[in-house]
Symmetry: C2
Subunit: 238 residues, 2 copies
Amino acid sequence: MALKVYYDLMSQPSRAVYIFLRCNSIPFSEQPVALRKQEQHQEAFAKINPFRHVPAIDDHGFKLTESSAILKYLSNQYLSPQSQHWYPKNNQQRAKVDEYLDWHHLHTRLNFMMYFQHKILRPVVNKHPVNDDQVEKYRKGIEKTVASIASYFLQDCKFFLGDRISIADLQAVVEIEQVLSSAYDPLVGHSSLQGWRERVREATAPHYQDATKILYQITARIQQLLEKENSDKHVQNN
Amino acid sequence: MALKVYYDLMSQPSRAVYIFLRCNSIPFSEQPVALRKQEQHQEAFAKINPFRHVPAIDDHGFKLTESSAILKYLSNQYLSPQSQHWYPKNNQQRAKVDEYLDWHHLHTRLNFMMYFQHKILRPVVNKHPVNDDQVEKYRKGIEKTVASIASYFLQDCKFFLGDRISIADLQAVVEIEQVLSSAYDPLVGHSSLQGWRERVREATAPHYQDATKILYQITARIQQLLEKENSDKHVQNN
């Protein structure tokens, strides 16, 4: 029985785990969970993750949720000594990866995820009217988050830890990538961060591009729907 | 130069780090940062942690923020083999601690912290009127969080990992303890969690009790102020 990975490439943390596995040639059995079909709420998946979130893994009977915990577990379990830059064994370097990944949840994850939900998901999927106050609140949160990543976590380095990519860079970039689909690039004006994003994409090519293809296909479709809706409204109002 | 620890016992994550250090007899130089005097905004502290949050450490020149990252770093750096139950070296056990600590931020931490802010801090310190919608939103979040801790993280065990306490139990309990000061005990109705909280307190005695003493002293004073304010309003309205 292989390592089973439950994921959907529309989910940012799923993409991080998927890209990591592919970059490190770790064999796994793909267990797609289609969020658009609400498959995460089926009883079979609840036995893997009662929180009904992706990603989740089942490694020969050992079940684990939470993408950062999964990335750390997989690093400890499967990486060769040459690949340990992803999650270094040196205690101080490891602590700096842990520091970003702890900070991530209430800053990068919260602000980018909630912006995407209010700007894209709720209006398009649930047909709620856009809540401009909430969009603006999380847009401001994104601005502060991005400034902190530039000044504290990246500084003048190529990656958060220095010369080599780590799981901290990967978690940050997949979250930042998600809002690009709403035609908003929060890294504009931060050339050091734009360079860093490009380096993460290159360091994980072609898996990064494979994993994000579906996001861009679906959001192109969403943009068409939104434009059609706006133009219909315009016709009705005139 | 010793390990320097910047903290304020009114901060939940500071208490976790302080209790952990005392329980494990790790020597450190106390660097109190009085939040009530806004000392976290002084320039000297910004050099330690530009985010101006406690706790933070400086271990012989190595600076680190984020309480969970600090607890993991200190475990790796200073624990004897007998004390490794706090953050086990076994990869699957360690992954279960990481899983809770990742989940913690957007569930336990977010809901309990925001409830405390809306119910206590903003009305008392900033004299804002209580926002009942926000209090109710985070109270419901607390109820869901507590139910998930009982059914998923604790189950029928003594502690999250089984028979021995870990840094995951400690982070969870300090956050839950904070709202008791608003005369609301979210563990009522969850006898397994009440037993667990008691076991965490016992396993960390007397340091747990030392670290929470100031919280209870200050919140007793806050309750007096709130009662006085309510009775003044009552007199004005009659």
